[in-house]
Amino acid sequence: MSGSDTQSNDKKPAICLEIKDVVKQFPGVTAVDHISLEIQEGEIFSFLGPSGCGKSTLLRVVAGLENQDQGDILIAGKVVNALPPYKRDCSTVFQSHALFPHMDVTGNIGFGLVERKLPKAEIKERVQAKIDLVNMGGMEDRYPHQLSGGQMQRVALARSLVLEPTVLLLDEPLAALDRKLRKEMQVELKRIQREVGTTFLNVTHDQKEALSLSDRIAVMKDGVLLQIGTPAEIYETPRTRFVASFMGASNIFSGNVVSASDGKIKFQTEEGLQVILPEPADMAVDQISGFSVHPELIELQPGNVDSPAAGSAEDMLVEGTIKEVFYLGDFSEISVQVNNTDTALTIYLSRSCNEPDTRIAQGQPVVARFPAGSMNLLVG
């Protein structure tokens, strides 16, 4: 929960969902461990974490499909702990889409409205509006087994949205789709959300999806909330080792601060590298235990430290040898063995047309340059 204070917006939008100190235990595991957070009206908020981190459980607690052992859930300011799912002002889109196999598209989308005993004409009208919203016109009479994966997901989305819930809960809605379709549906989800303005609470294990889709992200692990922030904050300034590596900042150095003065700190890694960094405002110096660097920020130069190219004096230079080159098309992933250590760096080299990459070859000595701003300090 160390990251819950990173958000500091000037205007305060209304809070539409509040999770207060929620604990949920299953025999042998604590799936949700004292989590508190607030979700604002109209945003797309994602719970991100590896499978088993408790994100789905937390979503199910919000939906009322599981009861928490401790803590409160507030929807639109009202405590809903005691309400069954069908009385909560939220609706869930399930990963398996969970369409009713014995009802057609219209029947599925209208299900909840029938339960609310609305007049037939109104049901028809509202269902049709949502069918149009999700671009399913012309397929009203089809049954789930006649639909493709993406279409089923659209129907599931419409089925929940038609109820006009305060919060729409999405339980890995795209996980079952193939990659291309997933991308397409991400765009669709975002468009639909912008159109209806409903708050989306999304659960995912796919960091790319979370980054592209969300307004804010909460990273979870083992039932604990590690960090909350905008996609850029989470990606660029992860606060813990886990978040850093989960977001792809694969170069992580452990070590400790050896001295601090004049707003600068001197950090020494376990490999013996020393680097001078500006002292962070939001961390205690003695808690800093390492830093992470995204592979796309590191620059590679042939040769050794004695022949440096241009760059700031505060850049960190590391000598190494190219161990392996993985050609990935738009960029290459290069593994560099740091000389005299066990440490291997991962560096992304974008393809470019003016510099033929003849210098990148296995076994070649290189210098990896870490620009001053690339190093992100970690506390855990």
């Binding site: 196999p101 909840g112 339960e115």
Partner: protein, 302 residues
């Protein structure tokens, strides 16, 4: 042109080879069952179909004259009534089996937990125990000198044993007793096969547990209900043992008529025509069921 001919010739030769291979394989794997089906299923059915239109002599011999006597006898008088009663009893049994079977199937599927296997075991054992012995056991319980009557008299609740045997009630109870397991198991299987997330979605979309049952659970377990109904209905229509043990001569069913004609009276033409009628009734019902519920349910049931 000659080249083309060559190609088509070799093609048809290849086709021929394929055909021969298939025929050989069919002969190798399927000849025993084909022989059984032709000789011991179709031939006997053809025979009784033939005999059903013959006359019977006073000493049980068959008189080879073509007649509609047997069929007409059935359409009119008492036989038709017995057939109707059989179908009615079968429907009633089916309905009661669903009524009693659904709750226990639902309980096991939903709340069985670790004891599921034990519960299922307790259902399967009766379904595979000797049918005759089970009926005998039930008779021991409800007979005139049976346990229930003995108990009632000893407790002073009644002075005379109450007549349970040879009533409609006894026959119905015995039918339900005999066939209930065969209804529970397919319903249970259907409930187990339900996608939990679909149920959760229904709740999430605002259905109360009660409404959810009727709008989602029940329609989605229709296959199980249908399978169970086939398993219960078919043998019940043709039932012989239950009416003969629990109905005596008072409550006859179609099966008992057939058995009576074949084994007691030895009137083969009449027995044959009754058997054919019974089979035809069932085929008709099965056909309607398949049309209504699909072949899948039937094959699952069997």
């Amino acid at each position: 042109m000659p080249v083309l001919d060559d190609v088509s010739a070799s093609q048809s030769q290849a086709q021929k080879r394929e055909k021969r291979k298939l025929a050989l394989n069919i002969a190798a794997y399927l000849s025993p069952i084909i022989i059984i089906v032709i000789v011991f299923v179709f031939a006997p059915l053809a025979i009784i179909l033939f005999f059903g239109f013959l006359k019977s002599g006073p000493y049980g011999q068959i008189i080879y004259t073509f007649t509609f006597e047997n069929v007409i006898a059935m359409m009119g008088g008492g036989y038709g009534k017995v057939f109707l009663r059989s179908v009615y009893l079968a429907f009633q049994t089916n309905f009661l089996c669903i009524l009693f079977g659904y709750p226990i199937a639902y309980y096991i599927a939903r709340f069985g937990g670790k004891r599921k296997i034990l519960w299922i075991f307790m259902i399967i054992v009766p379904s595979w125990s000797s049918y005759l012995i089970r009926l005998y056991a039930l008779k021991t319980l409800v007979g005139t000198k049976g346990t229930i009557n003995t108990l009632l008299i000893n407790l002073g609740l009644v002075s005379e044993p109450i007549q349970i045997l040879y009533t409609n009630f006894a026959v119905t109870m015995a039918l339900v007793f005999a066939w209930l397991p065969f209804m529970i198991l397919p319903i249970y299987a259907a409930l187990e096969g339900l996608d939990r997330s679909v149920l959760e979605a229904a709740t999430d979309l605002g259905a109360t547990p009660f409404r959810r049952f009727f709008r989602v659970t029940l329609p989605l377990t229709r296959g199980g209900l249908l399978a169970g109904s086939i398993l219960v209905f078919i043998p019940t229509v043709g039932e012989w043992l239950v009416p003969s043990i629990f109905g005596g001569s008072k409550i006859m069913m179609a099966g008992s008529l057939v058995a009576h004609k074949f084994t007691q009276v030895g009137n083969i033409p009449q027995g044959s025509s009754l058997a054919i009628m019974l089979a035809a009734t069932l085929v008709l019902i099965l056909y309607l069921t398949i049309k209504w519920g699909g072949r899948e349910a039937l094959e699952k049931a069997l």
